[in-house]
């Protein structure tokens, strides 16, 4: 029921005074009367009758107030009638057509050509269009990720919608039913039609509609399944492929691990093959139990650095294991109705590991007292997707005779004196592009060492046991820290007792990356030639601070090392599901960004779109395969491949499970005449209520008058 003038319902407030007046009735006057004994007698006789009458009158008057108030609010009833939604007022219907990857499944039809679930769904949608009346409007939303409206909003031009439906095919993305429902609700909210319906045509696989979505839904929602419930669903799917480092100083040896799921009721012998850079490189058989996952590992060594694309494929000759022929492929192969997930793409960026030399100037027998111990633990911790770090520790004497050029980064940990020979070689190493990380030793460094440091040491600031310094400002815009964003650096609670004091020297170009709370530098950077030097003004062991045991130590050391070795920009190619959005970094001055799809289709982002952007969001990841990214930079003069931006897309593993996860609520093949009601319209009932009120008024008048009529004044004869 709805009200045209709901403010009139305030009239219901009159009920209060009405009841009060009735129940708290006060005599208007007092009369001393001689025949009171007769009155008493009459009252006693009429007491019960009078009370009933009073209550009846009160109820009628209350009803009178209610009906008048409600009538003045001009209510209207929502009127439904049997006969289906197509028999009432105009209907606005949004058809959600599931075009997710699972809709590519084959549906064997005896005696007819084999069809796919999507083709059947499309035909159902077209049939549904034919059942709509001329005044009904319709829109079609594809419910794969991301949901897409294929019509110009709600339209009554069903012919045009049908034409568009004929040109559609199932995609490779996962379903996004919830998002599609929200989109449909938004669309229907703008419609003025009295009847609204969302019709989902799906294979009932994939992610069920979230209960919260169902709760918030304002319109009629029907789910129709396209696949027969009795269909035997058999599918062999590759659910995941991972490229794992095989160990060793070089990152060229990898293990490619494929997870294969057997969605069938029989044990399968699966033919798995690996192709890299377009060439088949390995092949093997894998036994997978019914409804279980099997893992197939391929070991491979890349000959060349750089990005490599590949794919793992389940061969066509898949079949059950036969008795006596354990490894043979059977003749009665599994009827794999869903072939899209038989192939999965991979990409890896092959690069050698970062070599780090730690020159330990303060070696101690107890490991927890040794700076090299903390450095080793921090550097050797593997970070997923990052280049591994290989560390070598030696004392300064040993370092004198060791060639430094083979190391990407050199740590001087606790070193206070440098021999002339080592000093000269270190200076040359840095000037030629090497990375040097210096941490304070127990004393004041000598002049040789100070010459490669970002500043001249003035002395050592020592605090007493009770007092300590804390970390102050951190330069978050520096590459070492900028990925943290607004997150904690993990250095906030570091307690520093002693640290080196540096003389101010404007002549030296240095940058303070981390300050102490009183503004003195804790971490500084200085460029020397092509190389970079970082200075930590406190020790890495726990003598001068508790930095090594704080959460910020590991990321600080790891990112400093990768920064010094210029490996921060490196990243493994991403693997995402089809339909998801990819962030592509934009470098300042980039003139053009081109994304090359697996089908060699180019998407070009011009300079206009790139200017002032840190990232570009690429949404057209509509098919599985390798995606390469190219950029045109002013200095290069042509297109350069951005290997770190490359990515591969795969069919979401959730699409491989073809079993039904949603409940069907309506079957288009049946006549829904008796199953649904149609909205006939809004029936104004205020006039009826006014009639009721008048009737009540009449009854009230009669009831009151009945007493009065009998009691009219008639003299006693």
């Amino acid at each position: 029921m709805s009200f045209a003038a709901p403010l009139m319902l305030l009239g219901l407030g009159l009920l209060g005074p009405l009841f009060w007046l009735h129940l708290k009735r006060r005599p208007t006057r007092t009369v001393a009367f001689p025949t009171l004994f007769i009155l008493q007698r009459v009252l006693k006789r009429q007491q019960k009758k009078s009370r009933v009458r009073e209550w009846v009158i009160l109820i009628i008057r209350a009803l009178l107030v209610v009906t008048f108030s409600v009538a003045l609010a001009r209510p209207a009833l929502t009127v439904w009638r049997p006969g289906g939604i197509r028999s009432g007022l105009p209907l606005s219907q949004v058809i959600l057509l599931d075009d997710s990857a699972s809709m590519q499944r084959r549906i064997p039809t005896p005696g007819q050509d084999e069809t796919t679930a999507f083709e059947r769904a499309r035909q159902m949608a077209i049939t549904e269009l034919g059942r709509l009346r001329p005044q009904d409007s319709v829109a079609v939303i594809l419910a794969g990720k991301p949901p897409r409206l294929i019509t110009d909003g709600l339209t009554t031009d069903k012919e045009q919608v049908s034409m568009r439906l004929y040109g559609l095919h199932a995609g490779y993305a996962a379903d996004a039913i919830d998002d599609a429902i929200y989109k449909a609700e938004h669309l229907l909210a703008k419609s003025s039609s009295a009847q609204k319906e969302i019709l989902l045509i799906t294979d009932l696989a994939g992610t069920p509609v979230h209960p919260e979505t169902m709760k918030q839904m304002q319109t009629v929602f029907r789910v129709v399944g396209v696949t027969p419930a009795t269909q035997k669903l058999e599918n062999i799917a590759i659910s995941d492929v991972a490229v794992l480092p095989a160990g060793g100083p070089e990152a060229r040896e990898v293990t490619i691990r494929a997870e294969i799921i057997n969605y069938s009721s029989s044990r399968q012998n699966v033919d798995v093959s690996l192709s890299l850079d377009g060439k088949p490189v390995a092949r093997g058989l894998l036994k997978v139990a019914p409804w279980q996952t099997g893992i197939k590992d391929f070991h491979h060594r890349f000959d060349e650095k750089g990005i490599h694309f590949g794919q793992v494929e389940v061969g066509a000759n898949v079949g059950p294991i036969q008795r006596g022929k354990r490894d043979a492929v059977g003749a009665a192969a599994v009827n794999d109705v869903f072939a899209v997930d038989n192939i999965r793409y991979l990409a890896t960026n092959v690069r050698r590991s970062i070599n780090v030399l730690v020159i330990n100037g303060d070696a101690r027998p107890g490991s927890y007292l040794d700076e090299a111990f903390y450095l080793q633990k921090a550097l050797e911790t593997p970070i997923p997707g990052e280049v591994p770090i290989h560390i070598q520790i030696m004392e300064p004497d040993m370092a004198r005779v060791t060639p430094l050029e083979s190391y990407d980064v050199i740590f001087l940990a606790g070193v206070t004196t440098l021999s002339s020979g080592l000093w000269e070689r270190l200076v040359r190493y840095v000037e030629e592009g090497g990375g040097l990380f210096v941490s304070a030793g127990k004393g004041k460094p000598d002049e040789n060492l100070q010459s490669v440091m970002p500043g001249e040491v003035d002395g050592i600031r020592k605090s007493d046991r009770r007092s300590h310094l804390k970390v102050g400002a951190v330069k978050l815009s520096h590459p070492i820290f900028h990925t943290l964003g607004e997150q904690s650096t993990g250095l906030e609670n570091v307690k520093i007792k002693n640290h080196l004091l540096l003389k101010p020297n404007p002549a030296v170009e240095r940058e303070v990356l981390v300050q102490l709370a009183d503004g003195l530098p804790l971490l500084l950077e200085r460029k020397i030639g092509k190389g970079t030097t970082l200075l930590l003004t406190t020790t890495i062991d726990r003598d001068w601070s508790d930095l090594p045991i704080r959460p910020g130590f590991l990321p600080l050391i790891q990112r400093s090392t990768r920064y010094l070795s210029r490996s921060l920009a490196f990243r493994e190619p991403r693997t995402i599901d089809v339909g998801k959005t990819v962030s592509l970094p934009v470098v300042e001055g980039m003139q053009k960004l081109i994304v090359l799809s697996p089908s060699k289709k180019r998407t070009v982002f011009s300079a206009n779109r790139l200017t002032g952007q840190a990232n570009i969001w690429f949404r057209q990841t509509n098919r599985p395969g390798p995606w390469r990214v190219f950029a045109e930079m002013p200095e290069s003069g042509g297109l350069t491949e951005l290997q770190s931006s490359a990515f591969v897309t795969n069919v979401a593993s959730s699409e491989s499970d073809l079993s039904r996860k949603m409940k069907e609520s309506g079957d288009l093949s049946r006549d829904d005449r008796d199953r649904y009601t149609a909205l006939e319209g809004k029936l104004p009932v205020w006039s009826h209520l006014l009639m009721v009120a008048l009737f009540l008024l009449f009854v009230e008048t009669i009831l009151v008058g009945m007493g009065l009529r009998k009691s009219h004044r008639k003299p006693i004869e």
Binding site: F33, P34, L36, F37, I38, L708, S711
Partner: protein, 305 residues
């Protein structure tokens, strides 16, 4: 309303004039020793012929109707009614309920009764009857023995005028009727001015006894029109005039039942008076007192014929 006795009959202009020419006729024979305007039970020297009786030895031969002897050749003696003096007791109800006036009348019931009884006293004394007054509520409040001499009228009027309503007091009819019975002794006239509500059984028995003894009993039932039709609107708190518990009621809804109950009460009283041969005269305060007297006298004269 207390009034000067001399002006009691002047309250309503024309009251005296209207009733002065009336003679109150008493239907029942009144036994009395003094000659008066009323017929006596004893035949005697009078101008008023009563009947012929067959002569029997011992009759006074002076009463033999010689003309009848001549016509019929039989001896008849003429019997004449002897006028008797009337002893009348006026009973005035002074209970609380008599204080009611109402909105539609100029008198309280009590004042109306006093005027009525005063006028009647005037007539009776004027025609030589003796008149006494008994005022009563729960006890006797006024007591004046019957006298007939002309100087007695001002006393009667003074007593009536000075009588007042006893607030919150009830009516004890039995008590006053017993007194009246003792006072009258022989056949006489009893005039009761009251609203006659709540007449108890004892009073009824005494009233019947009095009537049986031959007393001429007249009841002026004084009532306000309000008592008859309960004219109030809206919710009213009714308070008793004779110590009854008050009630709150909506008269409009009770009127019908009330009037029915009142009618039943009235019917009971009518039956009683009819059985006892008591003259019940309705004396609504909406009328003028003389109208009631005229009506009463007219009825009396009719009944005598």
């Amino acid at each position: 309303m207390t009034q000067d006795p001399g002006t009691l009959l002047d309250v309503e202009p024309g009251t005296y004039d209207a009733i002065s020419h009336l003679k109150i006729q008493v239907v029942a024979a009144i036994e009395g020793f003094l000659g008066g305007a009323h017929r006596s039970l004893h035949l005697g020297p009078s101008v008023e012929f009563s009947e012929h009786n067959r002569y029997s030895p011992g009759d006074d031969i002076r009463n033999i109707d010689w003309k009848a002897l001549a016509r019929t050749d039989r001896y008849f003696v003429k019997a004449h009614e002897r006028d008797a003096q009337l002893t009348c007791l006026m009973l005035l109800d002074c209970s609380g309920s008599m204080a009611y006036q109402g909105s539609r009348t100029r008198f309280t019931k009590f004042d109306f009764a006093k005027i009525l009884l005063g006028a009647l006293s005037h007539l009776l004394v004027k025609q030589g009857d003796s008149v006494g007054v008994l005022g009563f509520a729960e006890e006797l409040t006024v007591m004046l023995p019957p006298r007939s001499h002309p100087g007695h009228l001002p006393v009667v009027l003074e007593r009536l005028a000075s009588a007042s309503v006893r607030a919150n007091s009830q009516t004890r009819f039995a008590h006053v009727l017993k007194h009246a019975q003792a006072r009258l002794g022989q056949r006489g006239m009893l005039v009761l001015a009251s609203d006659m509500w709540q007449l108890d059984n004892e009073a009824e028995i005494i009233l019947k006894g009095l009537a049986h003894k031959g007393h001429d009993i007249t009841i002026f039932q004084v009532h306000s029109p309000d008592e008859l039709d309960l004219p109030f609107d809206q919710t009213v708190a009714f308070k008793g005039l004779e110590r009854e518990t008050g009630v709150v009621a909506e008269p409009a809804l009770l009127r019908h039942e009330y009037m029915n109950a009142l009618k039943a009460e009235q019917a009971r009283l009518s039956l009683l008076t009819r059985e006892a041969k008591v003259d019940l005269v309705g004396a609504g305060t909406a009328k003028q007192p003389y109208e009631v007297l005229v009506e009463f006298a007219t009825r009396r004269s009719r009944s005598r014929k």
